[in-house]
Symmetry: C2
Subunit: 154 residues, 2 copies
DNA sequence: CTCGCTGCAAAAAATTTGCACATTG
DNA sequence: CAATGTGCAAATTTTTTGCAGCGAG
């Protein structure tokens, strides 16, 4: 019984993640589903302990160790992004579009993170410089900190 | 006596850093100089313990605690960049040019890091999207992982 | 059934804090 | 001299590891 809330229909992120896990031959377990769902419902990046706590609030229970192990897997599958400035992981909802690239803007005030949908490989100035250096990029991370529109008017 | 090696003339990075520290009213102490010089001579990013070890190799001695405290200061003054993929700090040699922006390419093979000299605020695609979102950026970090030219031919 | 995943206990590593003493400016 | 910064000890926090038992496929 690795069913989270029984016949709750999964969100796009969770179903995609499950597919991806299955595709790689990993098992779909209840702790993993709980973690995916919790990540999916969080606006803010969560680190291992915060994630465990958040899962606990939903009534389920996961060991921090499993959170660590699961986060490691999710990161490898590009299902979550690590957000440096918030020290936490965020569900990657644009998954599949830009491969292992992540571009996000993080509001220092409200902490909200928004993924950008620029393809970094297509960013003229950047890719130009990369190719002139003969550098073969395999992963690009762009993190912009600042103040978002709604927080701007204080 | 906060003189590192007596009358050794400081490299641009170290002198600039000292100036910046002085400008903010911070003291120029020997542990700090040792840390700055060690960072300056390292091609690879160093974390607190690696940095302490590296300083020790030069004959000087610093407590890890001081390394942590100093790194914190240097980070605040934008004198070092944190490199996510290597989990370490790197002397910021392009300092002053792009303010609190950092763009670097990290070779997964040799670990070398090179700073790019693109001004992210001028990256057309990026700044366009930021302004259309009404986001006021205060710090931009771009990290590109991949394989550098010299490592490419294996 | 079997192998992967989980929880628990515990070890190891990383980071922080308090405080007396040393040093810089 | 008066802050500031340093080292040392120790507390905390974070992350990793080993292993027996459960559960997904």
């Amino acid at each position: 019984m690795a069913d989270s809330g029984s016949k709750v229909k999964k969100t796009p992120f969770v179903s995609a993640a499950i597919e991806k896990l299955r595709g790689v031959g990993m098992r779909i377990t209840s702790p993993r589903i709980a973690i995916l769902e919790t990540l999916d419902q969080s606006d803010l990046p969560l680190n291992a302990y915060a994630l465990q706590e958040a899962v606990t609030l939903t009534g389920k229970k996961v060991d921090v160790v499993s959170v660590y192990r699961t986060l490691k897997v999710l990161r490898e599958l590009d299902l979550v992004h690590y957000v440096q400035s918030s020290d936490g992981y965020l569900a990657c909802r644009l998954e599949g579009e830009h491969g292992s690239a992540s571009e996000m803007i993080v509001c220092d005030t409200c902490g909200n993170v928004m993924e950008l949908d620029i393809d970094p490989c297509a960013m003229t100035d950047l890719s130009e410089q990369l190719s002139s250096l003969g550098f073969k990029a395999s992963r690009i991370t762009i993190e912009v900190e600042g103040v978002c529109k709604s927080c701007d008017g204080q």
